[in-house]
């Protein structure tokens, strides 16, 4: 186990190196630059700015400077929010998104897995159809329809909850964003769970267990649950990253100050260090969650060896 984690840690270094290199190249090849504005500015002014942020150096040199800072935990200055470093911006906004994400996931995983299991055990019966159809409503209504609809109903028609803001995560401000996010996830998790359990229930070892006369509960919880979770876990890994890093639509519409906005605005504004910062962050999370997923695989199915 320790050996496995250590190996993964070593593998993470070249992975991140390639990731940063590719991202750097991609960013600099894209048209436009951080200080390109509609009004434009005299060349001398631009030259001064480029000098301050090392943008006048060759790209490989900028990359080396960036790596040097990264190793020391410095993500560099933001080119869009001149008064802040990327570190100043990323961590508070990640905290916001992680709060929304964690609550949404908690709700979605609990409800999704329960609904999925009930549906699977009633495969192709009315219960199955009802549950899955309800869950689907969460998928088919896109977030950008759901969010304004929620606000229209619950903040304007009935003045129940605030229409936006964060206020340090006060619960009233949390409800709508979490709801908007969770509805989308419940359905996805429910469907994966359902599909997986149906498959597991028809496999030989469950039939054997049934033939042995084991109680239904035991069969489901002791024998079917673990293999059922295998694809669910695979699905949750990347979902975790996606959820923790937030949704732009929720950030923009509810004005939460979450990190999702930095992904899109960073790219749109060509805020190079912000783009690098969030990319590295997401990269680290993917690597970590993949490692965790693999560990969970081995736990679920002891035959799996790496």
């Amino acid at each position: 186990m320790l050996n496995f984690i250590f190996r993964r840690f070593l593998q993470a270094i070249p992975t991140l190196l390639v990731l940063t290199m590719l991202t750097f190249a991609l960013m600099y090849m894209a048209p436009g630059s951080p200080f390109l504005t509609e009004k434009g500015m005299p060349e001398e002014v631009l030259a001064n700015i480029n000098a301050k942020y090392h943008l006048d150096l060759p790209v490989w040199e900028q990359y080396l400077i960036y790596l040097g800072n990264l190793v020391q935990g410095d993500l560099g200055p933001s080119f869009r929010y001149l008064d802040f470093s990327v570190n100043d911006l990323v961590w508070p906004s990640l905290a916001v998104s992680a709060t929304i994400g964690a609550w949404s996931l908690l709700i979605a995983v609990t409800l999704g897995i329960t609904m999925g299991m009930i549906a699977a055990l009633n495969h192709n019966k009315w219960m199955d159809y009802t549950l899955m159809t309800t869950a689907m409503a969460g998928i088919v209504l896109p977030t950008f329809v759901m969010a304004p609809l929620l606000v229209l109903l619950l903040s304007y028609k009935v003045k129940l909850l605030p229409a936006g803001g964060w206020h340090d995560g006060d619960w009233q401000y949390l409800v709508l964003p979490v709801f908007a996010m969770a509805t989308h996830l419940i359905a996805q998790i429910a469907r994966i769970t359902r599909g997986s359990l149906i498959e597991v229930m028809s496999s030989n070892f469950i039939r054997t267990a049934q033939a042995k006369g084991l109680p239904y509960r035991t069969i489901i919880l002791r024998h079917a649950f673990k293999p059922m979770m295998l694809p669910v876990v695979s699905y949750l890994g990347p979902l975790f990253v996606g959820v923790l890093t937030g949704s732009v639509i929720i950030d923009v519409f509810f004005g939460t100050g979450g990190i999702g906005q930095h992904f899109v605005n960073g790219a749109i504004n060509r805020d190079y260090s912000m783009v690098m910062g969030v990319t590295v962050l997401v990269g680290v999370m993917y690597i970590a969650f993949n490692a965790v997923t693999d560990i969970i695989y081995a736990y679920i199915d002891p035959k799996i060896r790496y």
Partner: protein, 538 residues
């Protein structure tokens, strides 16, 4: 003759003209009998998160809005756009208007209790041009031609050689290379605000954080959560604090107009925006809360005049004529915009251009003329004019582009392919001249025609339009007491050459709660000071 013009001629007439202002101060002007609310808090949508709060680096409206509350320059702007005393009580000029001497008030204080002196202005202005500050707006100091500004920015001279001087603590002197009639207007801009040297030297780029910042405006910063909110509280050291009413100002950086409307309706905002599509329904719902005011901005299409087919003036004119601007302003933008036939908006101070001939025609006549011009240029149904229309991704630009391409198509043999690009790609495409016709817009940096006409006043513009007469006119206008004749001629040239297609003049469209009083929504440059605002009791 409007007020500004009067002021200018007064200045020019006297050898050393001392301007004295009426004892009018900028503060909340609460009408007698108004019952004020107990809680004086004002929450406004600011449209976006500002790039910085450092006055010398601010570019863009969101930052400027905040800077006006946190800091104060030599002059402030009155509701009608005229300048009025700020930290300076007034100013005098020498006989050829190249040396301005500002006389500072002695009771102006920073939020930490320090007195605001002429040295703070010297420091701030030097800082703005200092290459080390690397301010994206340093060019603003070059516009009025403050001595040595350009050389300092280029790194050829030291910042200390800038043409500014503290004669004593309360006398600030500026030397210009040439007389610029609108210089006093420019000092209301954030770039020319004072700066608190001790704070900036102690904290570097982090001096604008709530814990570090020292301000000289009516408010000081108490909380700043990027992309969520920014909170300001009263600066008790502000010289006119006694007449300030609102205690707490919250700026929300809401980018989506639909979100702004949602929060306004939920009563979380006193001032907000809304998607213009909803204007008609909102008029019924809350008509008295909608405020529409002309803005100092022009929406236009720019053509690459070096590239066929736009090297042919007939093509350019035909495209311009065939746009029915009334339909666009009435049904598409639909919030009080004015059709534009010239580059400079009508509300610009000291400027009343003669409308070009095509502005007076009916649309049917214009379409006929357009079709004739295009036929003359050699295009027909069998050989239609094909081109790409470039715009940056936005719902508003999209609608206008769709409508205009349909207008062209229906009036003459033109096939337009619409092409939208995300913001920076669009900018770089435009910059490199890789377009044939593109959307553009411009808002004045100050209330004077040259901020618009200078766009084409050098050969260096995205459309590569060069007209020597035009360039000469704009150059000589720089030092003229009354340059309006030059500006008029410049607009005439634009109508003849049609390097750009003016479409409409912007309006500012806001929602303001009835409980808010004193909000200067009608300032032509959108320069609002929260210290003018008060909240009425219900």
């Amino acid at each position: 003759m409007n007020k500004t013009k009067l002021l200018q001629s007064m200045l020019l007439a006297s050898a050393v003209a001392a301007t004295s202002f009426a004892p009018q101060v900028l503060a909340a002007n609460v009408p007698a009998g108004t019952k004020l609310a107990d809680v004086q808090e004002f929450v406004r949508d600011n449209g976006a998160e500002p790039g910085t709060l450092d006055p010398q680096k601010i570019e863009g409206v969101p930052g400027a809005n905040i800077a006006r509350d946190l800091f104060e320059g030599l002059m402030n702007q009155a509701r009608n756009g005229d300048e009025m005393p700020g930290v300076a009580l007034g100013y005098t000029t020498n006989d050829n208007n190249t040396v301005y001497t500002f006389n500072l008030r002695k009771d102006a204080k920073w939020s930490n209790g320090d007195t605001v002196t002429a040295h703070d202005f010297v420091y701030g202005w030097q800082r703005a041009v200092d290459p080390i500050t690397a301010s994206p707006y340093s060019w603003f100091i070059e516009i009025p031609g403050i001595s040595n500004a350009s050389a300092i920015i280029a790194g050829d001279k030291a910042p200390s050689e800038l043409g500014v001087r503290a004669v004593d603590d309360y006398t600030f002197e500026v030397t210009l290379d040439a007389p610029i009639p609108f210089f006093a207007k420019m000092v209301t801009h954030a770039t020319l605000f004072p700066a608190h040297r001790a704070t900036i030297e102690a904290h570097g780029d982090k001096w604008t954080q709530p814990d570090n910042i020292v301000t000289n405006g009516a408010y000081t910063l108490s909380d700043w959560r990027v992309n969520e909110r920014m909170v300001m509280t009263r600066n008790s050291n502000y010289w006119n604090d006694s007449e300030t009413v609102v205690n707490k100002v919250t700026y929300l950086p809401i980018e989506a107009a639909s979100a702004s409307l949602a929060r306004y309706r939920a009563d979380e905002l006193d001032f907000g925006y809304f998607p213009t599509e909803q204007i008609k329904q909102l008029r019924e719902e809350m008509g008295d809360e909608i405020y529409i005011t002309p803005k100092l901005c022009t929406y236009y299409y720019i053509m690459n005049v070096e590239k066929a087919p736009f090297d042919d003036v007939r093509v350019r004119k035909a495209l311009s004529y065939a746009i029915d601007r009334d339909i666009i302003t009435e049904h598409i933008t639909a919030t009080g915009q004015m059709p534009a036939y010239g580059l400079t908006p009508d509300i610009t101070n000291n400027f009343s251009p003669k409308a070009p001939a095509y502005a007076g025609m009916t649309q049917a006549q214009r379409n006929e003329a357009a079709a004739a011009l295009l036929a003359e240029a050699g295009y027909s149904d069998s050989n239609p004019l094909e081109m790409n229309l470039l715009y940056n991704t936005s719902e508003g630009h999209k609608k206008i582009a769709i409508a205009i391409s349909q207008m062209w198509k229906q009036a003459m043999p033109v096939d337009t392919t619409l092409e939208n690009q995300e913001w920076k790609t669009y900018l770089s495409t435009r910059n490199e001249g890789n377009f044939s016709i593109a959307r553009a817009g411009w808002c004045g940096d100050y209330n004077e025609a040259s901020t618009f006409l200078d766009l084409l006043g050098s050969g260096d513009n995205d459309g590569n339009y060069v007209n020597q007469e035009y360039i000469d006119l704009m150059k000589s206008a720089k030092s003229m007491a009354d340059p309006s004749a030059n500006y008029n001629r410049a607009e005439e040239i634009l109508a003849e050459d049609m390097p750009i297609i003016p479409i409409y003049q912007y309006t500012g469209v806001n929602l303001i709660k009835p409980r808010v009083g004193g909000f200067a929504y009608d300032n032509p440059e959108g320069n609002v000071y929260t210290r003018d605002v008060y909240i009425k009791a219900d």
